[in-house]
């Protein structure tokens, strides 16, 4: 007795539904791109790509849409966060994978992942209350600065760096380590010469994904970066990022002003996609290797 038509139809129907579910992610991605680009691109046409991306003056109500300082600021903050977060995060990952006992691992890993769960507004708030005054009093300047933002963002990207680097380090086969010990290497020599190089592409990916998180971070940054519309010349200067620009003005912007914010979004989206592509590429290369 062959499977009834009804049962066959049911299986086909279910598969159809599941395919459409799977396609929904692509559809949403498509929607997001389309709508941000539809709103953001006309201004590039009207004002000129060069005048937006390399323009220094942001005065959207007066027809100036230069976002160059914000692009630069976004990268400054991102690299600042990386300088703060990468060494700390990598050290933590090495400690977790190579030095800590099993019990410590069981406690530390979730505790550190909890850092990722704290909302970014809370980080921003604590930055305003504690980091900003310390920077202002000890180093001068307004306190709302590249330095403050880098410190807070550096802390915020720790969980990303730790968990992905940790996975990469744990992925290094035990035999590599044993081989190194057998040749009389100390633990640190083994880690430094064998383990870290073997895990390098995963570690690199963790840095890039950390950068992705930092460059996309919004609420914490607008609370502590000071949002000034110029390229910072020192780490104590205030600055405004691409994300901050959107969040600060979207609520009240109209007309070309609003379109300018979408143009900012287009630039941000392109930067993020490039970063994601690089991160994915370096993770994939690891797998092939």
């Amino acid at each position: 007795m062959p499977m009834t038509d009804k049962a066959l139809f049911k299986e086909k129907f279910i598969k159809g539904i599941l395919v459409s579910f799977a396609l929904s992610s692509l559809f949403f991605l498509f929607l997001i791109f389309i709508f941000i680009f539809i709103e953001g691109l006309p201004l590039f046409h009207k004002i000129g790509l060069k005048n937006i991306i390399f323009g220094f003056k942001w005065a959207p109500t007066k027809g100036s849409f230069g976002i160059f300082p914000m692009i630069v600021s976004s990268f400054f903050v991102t690299f600042g966060a990386l300088i703060v977060g990468a060494p700390l995060g990598l050290s933590c990952a090495i400690y977790l994978s190579e030095y800590s006992g099993k019990k410590m691992k069981m406690f530390l890993k979730p505790a550190l992942e909890l850092l990722a769960g704290i909302p970014s507004v809370v980080y921003g708030f604590l930055g305003v209350i504690y980091i900003v005054p310390i920077v202002r009093d000890c180093l001068g300047g307004p306190g709302f600065s590249l330095l403050s933002a880098s410190i807070i963002l550096g802390i915020m990207i720790l969980p990303t760096i730790i968990s992905i680097s940790f996975d990469a380090l744990m992925g290094v086969p035990k035999t590599y380590r044993e081989g190194s010990y057998a040749m009389g290497a100390t633990k640190w020599q083994t880690i430094f010469r064998i383990v870290i190089p073997s895990a390098s592409s995963g570690i690199l990916a963790s840095f890039i994904l950390g950068m992705g998180r930092a460059i996309g971070e919004t609420m914490a940054v607008i609370m502590i970066a000071g949002n000034a519309l110029k390229i910072p010349t020192s780490i104590l200067d205030p600055l405004r990022t691409l994300t901050g620009n959107i969040a600060l003005e979207l609520a009240y912007a109209t007309g070309d002003h609003r379109l300018g914010l979408f143009s900012t979004g287009v630039v941000l989206l392109v930067i993020i996609m490039i970063l994601n592509y690089i991160a994915n590429f370096s993770i994939k290369r690891k797998i092939i290797k």
């Binding site: 007795m1 062959p2 499977m3 049962a7 066959l8």
Partner: protein
């Protein structure tokens, strides 16, 4: 003797290599037929064609015919789902579902649409009794099947297959990981079960084949070397290879 399954010139290719090289064999109703042979002889592949579990493998090609009660199970007139209702399988490793003993047995009947508690209760009890497991688990039907011993788990798997009320039962080295006592219990169960079911037992334990099967087939390198009554095969084999295998000279 009625023929239950007629296999004609069956060939199985896996990529470029030929796993089964033209097998022709009749399996008789209400008999235990033993498939024996060393590893790589193709005996397990053969039964995975009979239940069409081979469909889950990639890069395979099948030629030839397998008739069950006269209809070809390879040409699409029978779909896998209804075929597997008629052909039950017990695998080499006991694989209980992560549920209670009761729910493991009831899994097949529920798939067939049986919902009434009383009917399920009866099926569960009957199946466990037939698998010689009832006395050991009747007080803990609702505890996890994972808590049973290895031997009990394998009988649970047998009972679970029985509960679907198949016509044919395939056992793929069901005792390979079991202790002698559990093995004996399964063998005892099988000897009873052949009254109701057609059984194919794959094993590389020649003593087990000799003990409980009615017919035996010896496979070697994808070919059927010899097939006949178990008595004939073990007392007076026609092929030198069969004799060597039975005497433990290889395999």
């Amino acid at each position: 003797m009625d023929v239950k399954i007629r296999i004609e010139n069956l060939r199985l290719f896996y990529g470029m290599s030929e796993i089964l090289k033209g097998i022709t064999i009749d399996v008789y109703t209400s008999m235990i037929t033993g498939f024996m042979g060393p590893a790589g002889s193709g005996k397990s592949s053969l039964i995975s064609i009979i239940n069409r579990m081979i469909d889950f493998e990639e890069g395979i090609r099948i030629e030839g015919n397998v008739h069950m009660d006269g209809s070809n199970i390879l040409d699409g007139t029978i779909d896998q789902i209804s075929l597997r209702r008629r052909v039950g399988t017990v695998f080499a490793v006991p694989i209980p579902l992560p549920r209670s003993v009761y729910e493991n047995i009831a899994y097949g009947p529920r798939l067939q649409g049986i919902r009434e508690r009383s009917r399920l209760n009866t099926i569960v009890e009957e199946s466990l009794k037939k698998a010689f497991l009832w006395d050991e688990v009747k007080d803990r039907l609702h505890t996890s099947a994972l808590k049973l011993s290895g031997g009990q788990q394998q009988r649970l798997c047998l009972a679970r297959t029985l509960a679907t009320k198949p016509e044919v039962i395939l056992l793929d080295e069901p005792c390979s990981g079991l202790d002698p006592i559990s093995t004996a219990k399964i063998e005892e169960a099988l000897s009873e079960l052949k009254k109701e079911f057609t059984i194919i037992l794959v094993s590389n334990n020649t003593k087990q084949i000799a003990r409980i099967t009615d017919f035996a087939a010896f496979f070697y390198m994808g070919q059927l070397i010899e097939y006949g009554s178990t008595e004939k095969l073990f007392t007076n084999p026609s092929e030198k290879k069969t004799e060597d295998y039975i005497q433990g000279k290889f395999g």
